[in-house]
């Protein structure tokens, strides 16, 4: 197995008496597409926030890109990309301005910014809309742009928090083509999703139930283990007994 990009050991987060994430241990290998599944309220977002340095863990250990989540959050930030479920670019800025801003705060120089920005706009076929405010663009385009912007500083690892919410299957499929392109370049992908067809695209999948990891394997192995035809059935079998409901 390749070196681990994410490694957690009994990682836990409590809010008062409520344990949102309960001693989860797993590792993600370099270059892998790791699907992080779970029903609403299972603790996915909390776990992801701890791994990206947005939330301090209560206990347990974790390293991301080789850095400790307690002490080296700044180094983690320099080495990861992040695209959140809530739309993460500025709607009142144009694609070009968004690229420039986010590239700029990651410390890209102005010539590098210009060059990379143009290449990015070309590859996304966004040149014509490059100076239109984002608010006027279709959601699918915005998601692709947000993904590309999160990769501008060439991180080893990218976190995608429900990246394709609210778009049609064709647009989603195109988005996944971009994810594959990124892994071809050696980027590790950590992705949460509610779409089970997307779960099938992952190398390995973990399913969280009530703050714990209930299953973790390749989609094929999981289907075999649960005697299921699809990942959808696997998910339902696991998530149905969950105590935490919607919300």
């Amino acid at each position: 197995m390749a070196e681990a990009v994410i490694q957690t050991e009994k990682l836990t987060r409590k809010f008062g008496s409520f344990t949102a994430v309960d001693e989860i241990s797993f590792s993600v290998a370099s270059g892998e597409i790791f699907g992080f599944l779970g029903a609403n309220g299972a603790g996915k977002t909390t776990a992801m926030k701890m791994l990206t340095g947005l939330l301090a863990p209560t206990s347990g250990e974790a390293t991301v890109a080789g850095f400790d989540v307690y002490r080296e959050t700044e180094s983690i930030r320099r080495n990861i990309g992040y695209m959140s479920q809530r739309f993460s670019l500025y709607d009142d800025l144009t694609p070009r301005e968004n690229i420039r801003f986010f590239g700029g705060i990651y410390g890209l120089g102005s010539s590098e910014l210009r060059e990379k920005g143009e290449r990015l706009l070309d590859s996304l076929d966004l040149q014509e809309s490059a100076d239109t405010r984002l608010a006027a663009l279709p959601l699918g385009w915005k998601q692709k742009l947000a993904f590309s912007v999160a990769l501008l500083h060439e991180p080893k690892l990218i976190f995608l928090d429900e990246p394709t919410g609210g778009v049609d299957p064709v647009t989603r499929r195109r988005f996944w083509d971009m994810i594959y392109d990124a892994t071809d370049r050696g980027v590790t992908v950590f992705v949460t999703t509610h779409y089970m067809d997307e779960a099938e695209y992952c190398d390995r999948v973990s399913i969280m139930v009530d703050g714990r990891i209930a299953a973790l394997d390749t989609p094929a192995m999981l289907k075999k283990q649960f005697a299921a035809e699809t990942m959808n059935e696997v998910f339902i079998q696991l998530a149905r007994p969950a105590k935490r409901g919607e919300g």
Binding site: G53, S84, S88, L89, L93, I105, G107
Partner: protein, 385 residues
């Protein structure tokens, strides 16, 4: 060494990117632009004209039961000064109260029958002034005007009634003449404009900075910023500097209006005002940022900002003199940054005070700036606990 300079340049570039983004967003927000750049000046013009302590043309009601040459003379004194305007006249004793309660006049002047007669025979006579004291302050002003008129009338009595010569008229032994220094004509606009300017700059600074970070929380972009390697000081500088620049710009326009439209004198130096404003704005913006970091929605931030603005303005000495506040409230105003800046603005503009004269309030503002910024920086966390 070169490496060091390179590093500094790089981190300043990050701030520059943040600044550019903020300015783009500010000038693209069509709803906010008029609020930022038109409203303050409309407010300045309205408030400066409206907020005066002058009570011009007091409406008064006359009951002249004497109807002689002398009573007529006295009435003329009232109507000719410009301070009083007669709105009605009646001859029934009971009418007076109705006039006051009906708000048809603020004062009733009653001249009793035999006013002239008494004056001629005894050398003194009485008139009655009923003043509506619902608003004690205004009543005091009206009484002052009326006293002045009656005193002047007394003084001139020997000329008006030559036959009185020889009889003893009660004359004031000491004639007090007051002169207001630094604002000799007691032009209230001169007094109000510097203070109103402070309030406007405060409103803009506190609201814009108070809404800003919490807005990014609401949209969710704050998480995106927090996962980047941006440093706390870079973020805070990038967030505060735009509003600092805008507020100083507004102060400049306000000072131009004060000079060009209101002809408010400027006896001191502009550099003193800008130096103080630069520090003062750090207090206000630091406070706005602090509000923004401890709240979860723009609505919450708005309420907290209003709460402080109202207290700050009411306890600033802008509308009511600090000397007339109770002792505990006076002590409270010492912590009020608005009070100190209003005080400094008035002193510098109307008295020509220099830096040495205002060292104490300036020092307090400096201290508050340090405390506020430290609190704001401390409360802003990229990682939540």
């Amino acid at each position: 060494m070169k490496e060091r300079i390179d590093k500094v340049r790089k981190s300043l570039t990050v701030v520059a990117h943040l600044l550019r983004k903020e300015f783009l967003q500010i000038f693209r927000n069509k709803g906010m632009l008029p609020i930022m750049f038109v409203m303050p000046f409309i407010q300045l013009i309205i408030l400066a004209n409206a907020a005066t302590f002058d009570v011009p043309e007091v409406p008064f009601h006359l009951q002249d039961f004497d109807r002689t040459a002398l009573s007529d003379r006295l009435v003329k004194r009232f109507t000719s000064t410009g301070y009083f305007k007669m709105t009605g006249e009646s001859f029934r004793q009971g009418n007076a109260i109705g006039v006051l309660t009906g708000n048809r006049a603020d004062m009733v002047l009653t001249i009793p029958k035999d006013f002239e007669q008494e004056m001629m025979t005894t050398g003194h006579a009485q008139v009655q002034l009923l003043i509506d004291a619902e608003d004690g302050f205004t009543a005091g002003v009206i009484q002052g005007y009326a006293n002045d008129i009656v005193t002047a009338f007394n003084r001139d009595l020997p000329e008006l009634l030559p036959q009185l010569a020889g009889t003893q008229i009660v004359q004031p032994v000491i004639d007090i003449q007051s002169r207001g220094w630094y604002n000799p004509e007691l032009v209230y606009i001169d007094y109000m404009v510097p203070g109103v300017l402070v309030v406007l700059v405060t409103l803009i600074g506190l609201f814009l900075s108070g809404m800003n970070v919490v807005r990014e929380k609401e949209i969710g972009t704050i998480d995106q910023i927090n996962v980047t390697p941006i440093r706390r000081w870079q973020f805070i500088t990038g967030k505060l500097l735009p509003f600092w620049i805008i507020a100083l710009g507004e102060l400049t326009v306000g000072l131009i209006i004060a000079r060009a439209i209101f002809h408010v004198p400027m006896l001191g130096h502009y550099y003193v005002i800008y130096l103080v404003a630069a520090i003062y704005l750090l207090v206000v913006l630091g406070m706005g940022l602090l509000i923004s970091t401890v709240t979860e929605s723009q609505q919450q931030a708005m309420f907290i900002a209003w709460f402080f603005i109202v207290i700050f303005v009411l306890l600033s000495g802008l509308f009511t003199p600090i000397q007339s506040m109770p002792h505990w409230a006076q002590n409270l105003t010492l912590a009020n940054p608005v009070r100190h800046f209003v005080d400094i603005m008035r002193r510098v503009m109307l008295k020509g005070s220099n830096l040495g004269d205002i060292a104490k309030p300036f020092g307090i503002l400096g201290l508050e700036a340090v405390v506020m910024l430290a609190l704001a920086v401390n409360r802003y966390r990229k990682t939540s606990e």
